[in-house]
Amino acid sequence: MSGAVEIALTVNGEAVRRAVDPRLHLVDFLRSELGLTGSHLGCEHGVCGACTVRLDGETVRGCLVLAVQADGAAVETIEGLAADPAWDDLRAAFVARNALQCGYCTPGMLASAAELLAAGGVPTRDAIRDHLSGNYCRCTGYHAIVDAVESVARARAGAPAA
């Protein structure tokens, strides 16, 4: 280690304190130090989105944030988000629409989709595709994912299903 650094943060609402190697990125920290293996790693250079988590309320690439940079921050991972009732409809829609197969992309996809839905309104299918453009899925071909996100947006806005 090149001089471990003390960090203190909250992860899914729980206070965590650790000494970390500066080069450890946030997802390796979550997976190896905390055993939170729901956040995935695909490319580790910012391209695939499998590592998407929330940092202080905004989505980030967990592979492009160092654990030391998260000192003092609030991190939310799929483990925390999955326990949040506000996500029930989004999860249910992913199941109903077959928006996952292997599931590797799903934690990141859900985090990105939730961020779009939090903006309110009913985004167009193009807007949904734009927002999810940084999240790769190698299984579904994306249509089912766009269907799922759109159906949740419509239901929340009280609009008829497409």
Partner: protein
């Protein structure tokens, strides 16, 4: 892959960051949003001995004052995209944001990092060149200085920002009432680096174009100001200016090819964008 080991120092102010840079010299890299640097470290394209984290020094303000729009270095792409002051004072910048990477990257990546990196396919360097922004630099040894965008981008990933200097801010002139600004690009997929892009401004008076400044990105080692296109468009009606500027581009640009897109294709796409940009000014 995993990054090689490095040491980590958290700067508490801009002055502290400059002092750390002076102390560690070429062994150090500033860490802003990390959206290019950490990717490069993970790929082991770069192995600095120490990272100086400037994420907590403040300097993220966006201020419009006295006919200038000042974007401090740590302003994120997302914050710039949300800013009403930016949309009003420099609409080109607001138009550029949706083209920059993906939402999660825009939440972290900063304008200072993008300008300092000088990626020739990136949006902010081209916008800075089109609007002839001033880049504010600072170092412990020499204090503050200002470099115009025309003198800032020197070559591939090479800028006027010295190893012991940091970018503090970029200052853009606020748009004039008869000025039109456009940022357009063509990419294979939303958020990918541009195949070709253009950031353009001009005056539109009585249906005629004057003072066109079109900076192209993705066409060479730096963003390129299309001076011949500007000359060709001067004083022409919008339709004529669009055609003349697009025709003249062959004298401004000589884009290199890569395995997916040859140079001739890029030039053709640049002409398409030039036409669309001038036409959009009248819309």
């Amino acid at each position: 892959m995993k990054a090689a080991a490095f040491r980590y120092a958290r700067a508490t102010s801009a002055a502290h960051a400059q002092a750390l840079l002076a102390e560690h010299g070429e062994d150090a890299r500033l860490l802003a949003g990390g959206q290019s640097l950490l990717a490069a470290l993970n790929l082991r394209l770069s192995e600095p001995a120490i990272l100086i984290d400037i994420g907590r020094i403040g300097h993220a303000a966006i201020e419009a004052r006295d006919g200038r729009l000042r974007l401090s270095a740590l302003a994120t792409h997302a914050a710039i995209g949300r800013s009403a002051a930016v949309a009003e004072a420099a609409p080109m910048l607001a138009q550029a944001v949706p083209h920059i990477a993906h939402p999660a990257i825009r939440n972290r990546g900063t304008i200072g990092g993008s300008l300092a990196l000088g990626d020739p396919a990136a949006e902010w360097p081209a916008c800075a060149l089109a609007l002839n922004a001033e880049i504010v630099l600072a170092s412990a040894a020499r204090g503050e200085r200002r470099v115009s965008a025309e003198d800032f981008f020197l070559g591939l990933y090479s800028t006027a920002c010295a190893a012991d200097e940091m970018v503090l801010a970029a200052e853009f002139p606020a748009t004039a009432p008869n000025e039109r600004q456009v940022c357009l690009e063509l990419a294979r997929r939303r958020g990918d680096y541009a195949l070709v892009g253009v950031a353009a401004s001009a005056k539109l008076e009585g249906g005629r174009i004057s003072g066109l400044r079109a900076a192209f990105f993705g066409v060479g080692a730096t963003p390129v100001l299309a001076r011949e296109a500007s000359r060709a468009a001067e004083g022409a009606t919008v339709a004529e200016a669009a055609r003349a500027a697009a025709d003249a581009l062959g004298r401004d640009l000589d884009p290199p090819g890569d395995p997916t897109t040859d140079g001739a294709t890029r030039l053709r796409l640049a002409r398409v964008l030039m036409r669309r940009a001038v036409e959009a000014m009248a819309a």
